[in-house]
């Protein structure tokens, strides 16, 4: 096991990329710590799978290097990288039994028969597959197949990292939760580095110690689920994480005050005079409805536990999370921003103000 270091890495699928728009990955420098559980979160087409394929060696990056520990593996082929990968759709060798599937990577590496048997037995035991070992793999359910593809990776004792490429896509909803906690359990048991690609924020947040959010070929934030929620580093993160996402309003920022239309909003820090495209962001959780007439309630969605209220404020539509017991009716209302939770963004990136 070793940490994975992606050094100044970029990748383009074009042979002669010219501008940044030609790159699927636009420059990354990141260390994946040994034994960490990472989730790679982002919308479709943001470069998640490209990144994963570079780590597993299915793609060679156009620029930069990939290092496992002290070893440069940029040019090393997949078979020699000691990476396991679980794909979106279960990959099973249909003509083989479960046992033969698990033996396959070891046989390909020329391991002695006795060692193979011992190792397969051990892994089957950990994955609860012992009683299914001699069944044909083709007839199993999708979630069992995903466990077997994981097992094919884990039988190799030298695995550096296990990569998951949206492994729960084809799993029944009620089994998703089960399989997810199973994977988490196995991670704790084996201690392998785990990189888990998904576009589902719940999956990412419940699964990982650290979430890497990607947007248009760039990593926009790496953080714990809490950091992503409380201090999104990029407006995209604010918008993508949370349901509903962060409210983003174009505003002019001057010192401790943001101005949106005719409204002045107090901020928790001093930002001086900001140039460029400035916006303020606030999560629906940190807005409060009070008496007054600065805003207008437009629609109310009652979710049982709380209500999501859409209000019109200075020509913008904002989402506000209102506790279930607070009565809300359409019409004029007051709107209070929590100054400490109102964040300022310049050109989509978070700005830290002076206290």
């Amino acid at each position: 096991m070793a940490e994975i270091h992606l050094k100044d890495m970029a990748h383009s699928y074009l042979p002669n990329p010219t501008g940044p728009e030609d790159y699927a990955l636009k420059g990354l420098d990141h260390i994946w710590e040994d034994g960490g559980a990472y989730a790679l979160l982002g919308p479709s087409g943001c470069g998640k799978t490209t990144l994963l394929n570079i780590i597993s060696g299915l793609l060679t990056p156009s620029k930069g290097s990939v290092r496992f520990g002290d070893k440069d593996v940029t040019k090393l082929d997949t078979a020699h990288r000691n990476i396991a990968q679980v794909f979106q759709f279960p990959v099973i060798y249909d003509t083989m039994t479960v046992r033969q599937n698990l033996e396959f990577p070891l046989k390909n590496r020329g391991m002695a028969a006795a060692d193979i048997e011992a190792r397969v037995g051990e892994i089957a035991n950990m994955l609860d597959l012992t009683d299914q070992l001699d069944k044909p793999a083709a007839n199993l359910s999708a979630d069992a197949k995903q466990i077997i593809s994981l097992g094919r990776g884990l039988v190799r004792s030298d695995v550096n990292a296990v990569l998951f490429d949206e492994p729960l896509t084809v799993i029944d909803p009620h089994k998703k939760w089960q399989l997810r906690s199973r994977l988490k359990e196995l991670h704790q048991q084996f201690g392998f580095t785990m990189v888990y690609v998904t576009h589902d924020q719940t999956e990412a947040l419940t699964f990982a110690d650290k979430v890497v959010v990607m947007y248009e070929g760039e990593v926009v934030q790496i953080g714990t689920p809490e950091e992503l929620f409380e201090r999104p580093a990029h407006t995209f993160v604010g918008y993508f994480i949370g349901s509903p996402g962060m409210n983003i309003l174009p505003a002019t920022v001057e010192g401790r005050t943001a101005t949106v239309g005719d409204h002045k909003i107090a901020l928790g820090a001093d930002y001086g005079t900001l140039k460029g495209k400035t916006e303020i962001g606030i999560r629906p959780e940190f807005l409060k409805l009070t008496d007054g007439d600065t805003a207008t309630v437009e629609t109310i969605e009652d979710l049982g536990r709380h209500k999501i209220v859409r209000v019109a404020y200075a020509g913008h539509s904002l989402a506000v999370l209102v506790p279930e017991n607070q009565p809300v009716s359409p019409g004029p209302t007051g709107l209070v921003f929590d100054p400490a939770r109102t964040l300022v963004y310049r050109d989509s990136h978070l700005v830290r103000g002076a206290k």
């Binding site: 597993s56 997949t78 078979a79 990968q85 759709f89 990959v91 249909d94 003509t95 396959f104 390909n108």
Partner: protein, 289 residues
């Protein structure tokens, strides 16, 4: 839920029954009728029972044609199936190259049988044919109208040229249905090229291969037009396959009884061998899954 049972659905399949009756069953019964009777013209028939069948099954001529036919089909399958798989594996998977290959592969399949025969008949001629003349110029003694082996080579090469495409296209379709993830997983598992073929590509091709083998077997076993045009069954009887022999007997000699018996035996052999192929190949499939 209680449903009223009735037999009205049978009326809906009646048109098909009638169609099949007129197009297949009635002509077949006519042949059956001929096979158990003798005629001296004048539309007079005499019952002879199984006499024609016994005669056909014991005749040297039939044995010869059947032997040549089996050999021919065996050679065709032995060449076209592996060659077709190999070409399908080598064909590009995407881009303009894939489209070009598909068009090129489909071309021979679009040419009518007798045109294929004519093309090769001229192509292989020693005096004016490109192939025949080139071979002769190179000092190779090649003459498909005189030498049995040359006639065989010509007919086999012609069939390979005409029909390998079918196997290629079927296998290619099977290969295209394999998601990339399988190849990636195989790389990660350190599988060799052979293992990828054996455990990923071959299992996915198996179903279409069954169809390819059956089609190529039946077609080659019933081959008529091309050898008829190229060699006319010669030299001697060297390329007289079952169909050619049957036509000679039925149309050339007008021996309706023996020809009818021949037809039925021929039909039963095709049916039997197709069944054997199907059973053997699907039985192995059943073991695997």
């Amino acid at each position: 839920m209680q449903k009223k049972q009735n037999q009205k659905a049978w009326f809906l399949v009646l048109p098909v029954f009638l169609l099949v009756a007129f197009s297949a069953v009635i002509p077949l019964m006519t042949v059956v009728n001929y096979s158990v009777q003798d005629s001296f013209g004048n539309n007079e028939f005499y019952w002879v029972g199984t006499e024609w069948f016994i005669e056909i099954l014991n005749s040297e001529r039939f044995h010869g044609a059947l032997g040549r036919q089996l050999l021919f089909s065996a050679i065709i399958l032995a060449i076209e199936i592996p060659l077709g798989i190999w070409i399908a594996l080598k064909m590009p998977k995407k881009g303009w190259g894939a489209s070009l290959c598909l068009v090129l592969m489909a071309l021979p399949l679009l040419i009518p049988w007798n045109v294929v025969g004519t093309i090769w008949q001229i192509f292989a001629r020693e005096d004016i044919g490109l192939l025949g003349h080139t071979l002769a110029a190179m000092g190779i003694d090649y003459n498909y109208t005189q030498v049995a082996l040359d006639a065989w080579i010509t007919v086999v090469v012609m069939d390979v040229w005409h029909w390998t495409s079918l196997v290629v296209l079927l296998c290619y379709a099977g290969l295209s249905s394999i998601p990339d993830a399988f190849y990636q997983a195989a790389k990660i598992d350190g599988a060799s090229r052979w293992a990828v073929f054996r455990y990923i590509q071959f299992p996915k091709m198996k179903r279409v291969l069954l169809i390819a083998v059956l089609l190529r077997f039946m077609d080659s076993f019933m081959i008529y037009t091309e050898p008829f045009v190229v060699t006319g069954g010669g030299p001697g009887n060297a390329t007289t396959f079952l169909s050619i022999d049957l036509v000679k007997m039925a149309i050339g000699q007008f021996d309706l009884g023996p020809a009818a018996a021949f037809s039925l035996v021929y039909f039963l052999i095709v049916l039997l061998l197709s069944w054997v192929f199907y059973t053997v190949m699907t039985a192995r499939d059943g073991d695997a899954s």
